[in-house]
Each structure stands twice: as structure tokens, then as C-alpha cells.
């Protein structure tokens, strides 16, 4: 008989209300349980409880061969599955010293940036939900996200878990007409992003709900391990694509978007502007796409030398890293995933003190956790 999960809470102050924003909640972010101690409507303490989606990914990976883990990585951060595939394949390619072809590099960049656009569109939509616009913003941004997901469906056959980037290359080459479809889709998205910015940023009520809310100072951000839009929203100009470069990002011309204030509005602004930067990167990459082979010759059984590697990429949520330790067998000895949403979520108690409940939900929306990768 499985006992129910018990939880002891520490001393509650006088006249305080302890409320449980339980794992099932209309706030659409997934299974997160927040225990909040309230004084009226002010939040005094917040305790996040995670682990409802823990599937034991790292343990499972120790029993699988290296190529068998690629579909498993799809399910980590399910809103940006290409990034997870990429970090894993990059780690194994570094371990085995595989050099991939030029065309693969370009296609990987195109696919990763399209994934970033799709994920940021979803984040903006869900953020609108949390602030109170009942589903309207979400419907519009998801209409544009459908364009990208349809493109990915022609590439890999699936809408959410692509399994497209493989060790040593890709699953298969681009279908006919893919480049034209991409160009058409991002033209539409570029116009629509201006509309969304107008819909949100020029709305007085939205500004009052997000400006000055959930302020994160730079010192706290670095000390607490924040990365991605959360860190750039507090003022530090740091992006893994530039500071620790991987694949061929140094060949393209784009800006790192930074904001100074560190509140929810700044993070939302970063999402919108990063969509624009990604659109420009995709255009440049499509321009320079070379012809050639996709996959390189790799051994039949992947057995790296004993060693370890720590590979990092910039996923839409922040710095996604994987530590792979191999011991010469076809199965990895230890596989550890450093997920950005996990570290960003640990900030929540610090930045939501002395706010109201409505601010707590808005802050949670702007941190943008995806529980597949928080719980693994």
C-alpha cells in the first residue's frame, strides 16, 4: 500500500494563510506544486515542490546503447526537442572525435533556430494566459507555431518529438521545396510578431501587471545560477552561442538581446526580440546552405574511448548541458543533464517574496519552466 506523500511545513506566523497551488492547476505550465504562505494577499514564503514528472531518465540511459538514447532526449524539454537532441549528439561527437559535414552544420543551425522561434511563441502565449488574457494570445501565437511545426513534420514525421538530429548527422536530407516553405513561413511570422508586440506592449493593463514585478538583480541572478532570458533580462550580455561557441554560429551576424530591469516585462521583451534575431539567422543560413552529404561514416557500434565530456548549448530556456562519462562499453557510464528550467525555477522563492498571488503567477510564467526537463 503506497503511503500518501506527507509534507511538514515549518513555523507559520500569526494570522497567515497557507495555500496550496497544487500540481493540477489551470496555470498551464505543468505539474508544479507551490506551497505559499500568505498574509492576506501578500506572499511571504513560497516553497516549490517538484518531482511529479520524474521518470528516471539518467538511470534509464545507463542501460541503453548510445544511439538508443536519442529518442529519449526528445522527451526532456518537449517544447524544444531539437535542442535536446543537439546537445546529446554534440557530446557524443566530441567524445568520439567525429567531424560532421558542412551541410549538416547549416541544417542543424536552421532547425535549432526555427525551434527557438516556436518555443518562444509558445512562451509568449502561455505568459499571456497567466496574466489574464483568457487564451486569446495563446490562440494567435499557436497559429504561427503551427507553421513551424508543419515544417518539422515534413522533416521528421512527428510534431513534437522529432528525433531528427542523430549522432554523426541527421535522419535524412531536406525534402524538396523546404527552403521556400521556410522562407514563406518566416515572412508571415515576422509580420505577426510585430502585431503581438503591439497587442502586449502597448496595453496599459499588461504593462502594469508586468513592469516592476518579479525583479531579479544581476548579482542574485549569477549567484543563483540563472541562465538564458532570465539572466539576460537582468543585464548580463551572455549567450552560450557566443561565449562558448559551438557549430557555426560565429559565421552569422546577429545581436544578443539584453535588458536592464530584470522584471517580467524585460523577459517577455527578450522573447519577442529573440524571435526576430532567429529569423535573421535562419535567412542567413538558408542563403549559405552548401550542397553535399549529410551523414559521415561512423563505426557500426558506437564505443567511445573512456573519458568524459561536458557539452553546452543555448536552448530557448537557457544553458542546456550534458555531462557524459564513458568507459569503453557501448552504454554510457553516467549521463547527467543540466537543465536550465531546473535552475531558473529555484529562483522563484527569492523573487516572488512581498508580491501578491497574481504576481507569483505572472513571475512563474515569465521564468517559463517546462517540467519535462525540470524533473527529468
Amino acid at each position: 500500500m503506497m503511503p500518501l506523500r506527507k509534507f511538514e511545513y515549518e513555523e507559520i506566523g500569526e494570522g497567515r494563510l497557507v495555500i496550496n497551488l497544487g500540481p493540477q492547476h489551470p496555470s498551464t505550465h505543468g505539474v508544479l506544486r507551490l506551497i505559499a504562505e500568505l498574509d492576506g494577499e501578500r506572499v511571504k514564503k513560497v516553497l516549490p515542490i517538484i518531482g511529479y514528472l520524474h521518470r528516471g531518465f539518467e538511470k534509464i540511459a545507463e542501460n541503453r546503447n548510445y544511439p538508443m538514447i536519442v529518442p529519449l532526449t526528445d522527451r526532456l524539454d518537449y517544447l524544444s526537442a531539437m535542442s535536446n537532441n543537439m546537445v546529446y549528439c554534440q557530446a557524443i561527437e566530441e567524445l568520439m572525435n567525429i567531424k560532421i559535414s558542412e551541410r549538416t552544420e547549416y541544417i542543424r543551425v536552421i532547425v535549432l533556430e526555427l525551434q527557438r522561434i516556436a518555443s518562444h511563441l509558445a512562451s509568449v502565449g502561455f505568459f499571456g494566459n497567466d496574466v489574464g488574457v483568457t487564451f486569446t494570445a495563446m490562440m494567435y501565437t499557436f497559429r504561427e507555431r503551427e507553421l513551424i511545426i508543419n515544417l518539422f513534420e515534413t522533416l521528421s514525421g512527428a510534431r513534437l518529438t522529432y528525433n531528427y538530429i542523430r549522432i554523426g548527422g541527421l535522419r535524412e536530407d531536406l525534402p524538396k521545396g523546404f527552403e521556400n516553405n521556410v522562407l514563406q513561413s518566416i515572412d508571415i511570422i515576422e509580420k505577426k510578431v510585430d502585431e503581438y508586440e503591439e497587442f502586449f506592449s502597448e496595453n496599459e493593463i499588461f504593462r502594469r501587471r508586468t513592469q516592476g514585478i518579479g525583479v531579479l538583480k544581476l548579482k542574485d541572478a549569477i549567484n543563483l545560477g540563472a541562465t538564458g532570458p532570465v539572466l539576460r533580462g537582468s543585464g548580463l550580455k551572455s549567450d552560450v552561442r557566443v561565449t562558448d561557441p559551438y557549430t557555426i554560429y560565429d559565421r552569422f551576424d546577429w545581436d544578443i538581446i539584453t535588458e536592464k530591469k530584470g522584471d517580467c516585462f524585460a523577459r517577455y521583451n527578450i522573447w519577442i526580440n529573440e524571435i526576430r534575431q532567429s529569423i535573421s539567422i535562419v535567412r542567413q543560413a538558408l542563403n549559405g546552405l552548401p550542397k553535399g552529404e549529410i551523414n559521415v561514416k561512423i563505426p557500426r557500434v558506437i564505443k567511445p574511448e573512456p573519458g568524459e565530456v561536458y557539452s553546452k548549448i543555448e536552448s530557448p530556456r537557457g544553458e542546456l548541458a550534458m555531462n557524459v562519462i564513458s568507459d569503453g562499453t557501448p552504454k554510457p557510464y553516467r549521463l547527467k543533464i543540466r537543465s536550465p528550467a531546473f535552475c531558473n525555477l529555484s529562483l522563484l522563492p527569492t523573487i516572488s517574496e512581498e508580491g501578491l498571488i497574481a504576481d507569483l503567477i505572472a513571475t512563474l510564467g515569465s521564468i517559463d519552466p517546462v517540467f519535462g526537463e525540470v524533473d527529468r
Binding site: 496550496n20 486569446t136 497574481a358 503567477i361
Partner: protein, 328 residues
């Protein structure tokens, strides 16, 4: 046939008029809720780039009927630790109070159930009684979400009462009478929205607060406190609370039309049709706002209610008063 027409003379008897008018009004309002809820779901659906209900009946007209049947047949759960009497009473009282103000609303010069000469005061007083069932629904289920929603609703309702009353004073000053029929009759030449522009703004914001519609729908803020003050209610109780809130929003739009938008005055069509058309347009604007605008926070809302609307309404009264004295 003549026998039926001869019965009409009984309508001058206030008792008969009250009974027949009351029952007729209740049925008319219930029917109009069904129609308006259907329009709302389709309209908001279209604004959100989707169809809205379109499976049940042609264009989804029977959707509300089916929803009503579903709510009727749901299990009626009463929490163990709830205050049972208050829990059962809250929806009934809420539903009953919601209907009362309609007794003094004129749909044409003669179509009014009871033409009180303090009509507008009666409406204001009765609609402010709606705080009581809300607090009852917030307190009785012994649940923290209900409590939070109920407290927010109470704060909301108290803060719109004063600005609403002050805005109405401006209208009453122009009419010299508190009777609803007189107020509409005085708008024959010019609708009160023009001389009372500031009062119109104040009244519209206060009416949105009364209707508890986005951007002011804090009592049932869906993304924050599950269902707010109606959380523990299920089945018919929930349906009654929902309908009570909807009737409040119909009342709010009717008041806007009668006090500021000319009531039943209009060129060709008969009087009741004009009121219905204008109310329908105001309700469409309410639905439009629901689909577009984010939600205001509770302290920002209280700011607006107490620090912004009351001074504006006072300025309006001063202005109207001096204009009246100067222009006679």
C-alpha cells in the same frame, strides 16, 4: 378573444401587474441568458481564431441547453467541513437577488412592472445587496480558494458602489427626478452621454466592475485561484451562481443604455426593440473586452475605484451643478 382582451383591464391592478410582469420578466430574462451566452461563446471564439461551439444543433444553438442538462445531472457535492445551511442558501439567494432590480426598469413608456418615483435609488440599493450571497459563497465551503475569491469579490463590490452612485447623481441633477421613466423621457432631445461625458466614463467603469467582467474579473481569476469564489460548488448550485453573475452584467448594460444612451428613443422601430438593440450592442462590447484585455490586480483595481473614479465623479457633479445654475 374579446374575453381575453377584456382581461387586460385587470392589468391596471398593481397586484396583477406585479405578478404577471414579474413572471414574464423572469422567463424573458432566462430566455435571454440562453441566447446571450450562445452569442458570447461564438463571438469570443471567433475573436480567438476558432469556431466556438458548432456541433450541437445548427451553429451550436443547443449547446447551452445541453450544458444546462449536464449541470442539472451532476452530483451535488457538499464538503464535509462546510457550513451546510449557508452553503445551500448562497446560490438561491444570489439568483433571487439578481432578478429584483429588473422590476423597476422600463422597456418603454408603459412597459414597466412598477414605476417607482425613486426608481434609480431602488435599483442601486437592491443591486448592492448582491454582496451578501457572494460573501456567503466565499465563506461557507471552508476552502481557501473560495475565501480568497470571496474577499476579493467583497472588496470589488464595495469599491464600485460609491462611484456608481455619484455618477448617477449627475444624471439625476439633469432630470430633476429619480423615476426611471422620467430619466429616459428627459433624453428626448439629446442623450445624456454628451452633457455627462465624465459621468459616462465613471459609470461605465463602475458598471464593468459590477458585472465582474474582464478586466475586473478578480473573484474568479481562473489562472490564479482555480475557480475563485465558486470553487466548491458543483451542479445546479454552480449554474445558479453563474447565471446570477450573468444577470448582473445584463443589468449593468441595461443601466448604461437607460441612463446615458437614450433608453428607448429611436427613429422608426417601436420602443422596446430599441432598448434591446442598444443593450445587445453594449453587451457585445463587454464580450469583446473579455477576449482582449488582461486582468487587473486587486490593489490596482482598488486604486482605480477609490482614488480615480471618486474624484472624477465629484468633478462631474460640481460641473453639472454650476452648469445647471448658470443655464437654468
Amino acid at each position: 378573444m374579446e374575453y381575453l382582451l377584456s382581461l387586460l383591464v385587470y392589468l391596471s391592478n398593481p397586484w396583477v401587474k406585479g405578478l404577471v410582469g414579474g413572471i414574464g420578466l423572469a422567463l424573458a430574462i432566462a430566455g435571454s441568458i440562453v441566447l446571450l451566452l450562445w452569442v458570447e461563446r461564438k463571438f469570443i471564439g471567433r475573436l480567438q481564431h476558432r469556431y466556438g461551439p458548432n456541433r450541437v444543433g445548427k451553429f451550436g444553438i443547443l449547446q447551452l441547453v445541453v450544458d444546462g442538462i449536464k449541470l442539472l445531472t451532476k452530483e451535488d457535492i457538499i464538503p464535509d467541513a462546510a457550513d451546510k445551511t449557508v452553503f445551500k442558501l448562497a446560490p438561491i439567494i444570489g439568483f433571487a437577488i439578481a432578478f429584483l432590480p429588473f422590476l423597476a426598469i422600463p422597456f418603454s413608456e408603459t412597459m414597466i412592472v412598477s414605476d417607482l418615483n425613486v426608481g434609480i435609488l431602488f435599483i442601486l440599493a437592491v443591486s448592492s445587496m448582491a454582496v451578501v450571497p457572494t460573501l456567503m459563497a466565499g465563506w461557507s465551503p471552508n476552502n481557501k480558494y473560495n475565501l480568497l475569491g470571496g474577499m476579493r469579490a467583497a472588496a470589488l463590490m464595495i469599491s464600485y458602489e460609491v462611484p456608481m452612485g455619484l455618477a448617477i447623481i449627475g444624471v439625476v441633477m439633469l432630470t430633476d427626478s429619480m423615476s426611471m421613466v422620467e430619466i429616459v423621457k428627459a433624453q428626448e432631445k439629446i442623450w445624456f452621454i454628451f452633457p455627462q461625458a465624465l459621468g459616462f466614463v465613471v459609470f461605465v467603469v463602475a458598471a464593468f466592475m459590477e458585472a465582474a467582467r474582464l478586466p475586473f474579473d478578480l473573484p474568479e481569476a481562473e489562472s490564479e485561484i482555480v475557480q475563485g469564489w465558486t470553487t466548491e460548488f458543483s451542479g445546479m448550485k454552480f449554474a445558479m451562481l453563474l447565471f446570477a453573475e450573468y444577470i448582473h452584467s445584463i443589468l449593468a448594460s441595461l443601466l448604461i443604455v437607460i441612463l446615458f444612451l437614450g433608453g428607448w428613443h429611436g427613429p422608426i422601430l417601436p420602443a422596446p426593440i430599441w432598448i434591446l438593440i442598444k443593450t445587445f450592442i453594449v453587451m457585445l462590447i463587454l464580450m469583446w473586452m473579455r477576449a482582449t484585455v488582461p486582468r487587473v490586480r486587486i490593489d490596482q483595481l482598488l486604486n482605480v475605484g477609490w482614488k480615480v473614479l471618486i474624484p472624477l465623479a465629484m468633478i462631474n457633479i460640481a460641473f453639472t451643478g454650476t452648469a445647471r445654475v448658470i443655464l437654468g
